[in-house]
């Protein structure tokens, strides 16, 4: 028997599935974990730890913020800067300066391009996080995956489970058919995430913009890909890999996924769907 729960958190729909009877307490715990992490990691809440860090330039973080920032910096290194948590000002300048539900879909004023702070220095030492002057962090590219993983850990106490945080999926044992671009993938472990420019987009002065910033330009990435789905060891790695592949375009993304053996589904703007990384 699969028990489910859906609710909203982190600006998206969250879905919890657990294969167990009487899993109410685990479901409650997993839901609370999402709200707790949102309160810590949201850049849209003035009182979140992340907002305090961005405001003050340094903070003595709690374990979650410390861990997420650590993972984001590690991801930046691993992807040679294609994933970068210091794009905060660029995302804001592009128009994504409030929770997405409140971003106007159309606008006459052209979006700004902030001087990119890509590779801006962030120090994580002696129990403190310190930002280089002018650097602010956006953990949106990793926070949902992290929350999905933490919630899955809680749910897994009750039984095999799947947590879907608006497309970022964490699985703990069991067998879970997940729909991806008209196919069904059976997940038994690990994480899955989709990144793209087909949602969280808006127009400014006739120009279509989206939330995936290319750290090298400080502007929304221009690529022939509409969206990328990646399967990885966990939801955080999947989120990072999906964004890193999205930025480089379909040809290079397919080659990289094949070379690294990363199962990926690439949807190109001309309508093609490319399977890569051993997925066939």
């Amino acid at each position: 028997m699969i028990e489910t729960r859906t609710f909203r958190a982190m600006g998206t729909d969250i879905e919890l599935l657990v294969e167990a009877d009487g899993a109410e307490r685990a479901l409650d715990g997993a839901e609370q974990e999402f709200h707790r992490l949102e309160a810590l990691l949201s850049r849209f809440r003035d009182d979140s730890e992340l907002s305090r860090l961005n405001r003050d330039g340094s903070i003595e973080p709690g374990p979650d913020l410390e861990r997420v920032v650590g993972m984001a910096l590690e991801a930046r290194q691993r992807t040679a800067g294609r994933f970068d948590p210091t794009v905060h000002d660029a995302v804001v300048a592009a128009g994504y300066d409030r929770s997405f539900e409140r971003v106007a879909p159309e606008g006459d004023v052209a979006a700004q391009v902030a001087p990119t702070t890509a590779a801006g220095s962030v120090w994580l030492r002696d129990g403190r996080i310190e930002l280089e002057r002018g650097v602010r962090l956006d953990l949106g590219g990793i926070g949902k995956g992290y929350a999905a993983e933490r919630a899955a850990e809680i749910l897994a106490v009750a039984g095999p489970c799947l947590v879907n945080a608006g497309g970022d999926i964490a699985v703990r044992s069991g067998s879970w058919p997940v729909g991806v671009e008209g196919m069904t993938l059976e997940l038994t472990e690990g994480g899955l995430a989709t990144s793209g420019r087909d949602r969280r987009r808006w127009r400014r002065a006739g120009r279509e913009l989206h939330h995936l910033i290319d750290p090298t330009t400080g502007a929304p990435a221009e690529t022939d890909l509409l969206r990328v789905t990646v399967l990885a060891a966990d939801a955080v790695d999947a989120e990072v890999a999906a964004k890193a592949l999205f930025l480089v375009g379909s040809e290079r993304a397919a080659a990289e996924a094949d070379a690294e053996g990363t199962p990926a589904v690439l949807v190109v703007e001309d309508g093609r769907t490319v399977l890569a990384g051993g997925l066939a």
Partner: protein, 99 residues
Amino acid sequence: MTSHTGRLYALAFALVVFFLAWAAVAARPWATSTVDPRLKTLAVREAQLRAEAKLVNQIVAQRAQLARLSRNRQLASAAAAPAPVRIVNLPPLTITRTS
């Protein structure tokens, strides 16, 4: 015949001899030294516990080391190998989309 000073010396000498004798008797040199048997037992028990604690610490450290190695191996293999997946003909329970 005996002078006054001589009597004083004799008295002082007698006092010294008296106190020395008193101290010697008070020390009870004939009594054998005895240790409380309960203290003896406690000391033995303490030594045993210290030895056992040392052994337990060694075992815990060895097991922690093994667990760390095992965990590192698991993480390395999880990172190296793609997560298990296959395409199936089943209706999906959930879908992924751009997050």
